[in-house]
Amino acid sequence: MYKAQILDWLQAVKDPEIPTISLIDLGVVRGVEIDEVTGTVSVHLTPTFAGCPAMDYMKRDVERTLLAHGVPAVHVDISLREAWTSDMISDAGREALRRHKLSPPPVLGNQVLDLDFLEYAECPNCLGNNTELRTPFGATLCRAVHYCHDCRQLFEQFKPV
């Protein structure tokens, strides 16, 4: 009951660079534990990319949000125990990325992350796939730049990994 409440509060914590998506829908929150005796809430985070400079902000935002709701103590740890993959983005998260005009990564399932995957992207404007990878490196570590031949527009994609 209480854990559902914590998760609900955490829905308000958004990615510092993509304000439409919550850390939960992004798959960055890997677990929440509540110490019944002390009331301390532990939140486990994992970075999307190992060198992500936004992790400290995410940690701070999780702490602030829960403390503001009256949680007595918050402990946030960041680890690679359960390494993030782009399949951890929820369906709601994929919609949230589209709202920010970011192409969501294709779902990998059990397939190998090969060139076909890295080069594929759905245009966030027309939702078509007549697109081409222009460069695997964009404005942040998690974004690649593609071009839509139908819209004749560059667009950014959240990289599959």
Binding site: F49, A50, G51, C52, P53, L80, R81, A83, W84, T85, L113, L115, L118, R134, T135, P136, F137, G138, A139, L141, A144, V145, K159, V161
Partner: protein
């Protein structure tokens, strides 16, 4: 040295030093996309080195910042390939191609390391390294099939860089134990996988693969023997830290 420490220092130092070199393309890339690509790879590699220095810290070594910023060149275990100045774009691209193919294969193999904390980091890094290899392949193929000047320059860069690249696979005394304990498949096996991988890409270009048996590997880096280029890099990288180790920035 303990085989875990021996292996981790080599991995971490390679990432840190090449990460720093890549960052030197910031603002200087031949086109905007390449400026961003080398800067992004720099950020990735610094992040990767931090993960590896954290593993060392958990094994009793000093804090990551201390390890990264307070050692001098003879205490570094990187191969000499990564410390060479960025030079012209043909060299930086060729180094990136030769190094990151080895790095991708290395971390794919480390994903099943008997040392679970390292395997966890490797499972994270290998996906990211695919983008580095993809980027290198794209430009090797593009320039390696372009104009006469481009092909000539890329061939020159390849001939110059390969002996240094062979130094990636220099082994240390810990090698037999690293292999027997299941920490890692070992440098010889990695080198043979690497050779297959780069040959496949080079075959799609007009570039000739020199006979590796005729080349002398540039070794010594794993034992702290470095070129005159490493110490100035370290001095620049650590300038702020050495002025005020407690500065928050």
């Amino acid at each position: 040295m303990d085989p875990k420490l021996d292996l981790l220092y080599r991995l971490a130092d390679d990432q840190l030093i090449l990460g720093h070199r890549n960052s030197e393309w910031n603002g200087l890339g031949p086109i905007l996309e390449e400026d961003i690509a080398f800067s992004s790879m720099a950020q990735d590699k610094l992040g990767h080195s931090l993960q590896l220095y954290n593993l060392l810290h958990n094994l009793g070594e000093a804090e990551p910042d201390t390890v990264a910023f307070t050692r001098n060149a003879p205490q570094f275990h990187c191969c000499q390939l990564v410390e060479l100045p960025i030079g012209e774009y043909d060299f930086s691209l060729t180094r990136h191609f030769l190094f990151d193919h080895a790095e991708l294969l290395r971390f794919e193999a480390l994903a099943t390391s008997s040392y679970e904390p390292l395997a966890q980091v490797a499972r994270k890094l290998r996906g990211e390294l695919k983008y580095h290899a993809l980027h290198a392949n794209t430009w090797m193929k593009r320039l390696g099939t372009a104009t006469e000047e481009a092909i000539e320059r890329m061939q020159g860069a390849l001939n110059f860089t390969l002996p240094y690249a062979l130094g990636i696979f220099e082994t240390t005394e810990a090698e037999p134990e690293i292999i027997s304990s299941g920490l890692f498949i070992g440098e010889a096996e990695l080198k043979s996988r690497w050779l297959e991988s780069i040959t496949k890409i080079l075959a799609q270009t007009a570039l000739d693969m020199p006979d590796l048996n005729l080349l002398t590997p540039v070794n010594g880096g794993r034992y702290g023997q470095h070129t005159e280029h490493l110490q100035p890099l370290l001095d620049e990288m650590a300038e702020v830290f050495r002025l005020d180790p407690t500065a928050d920035w």
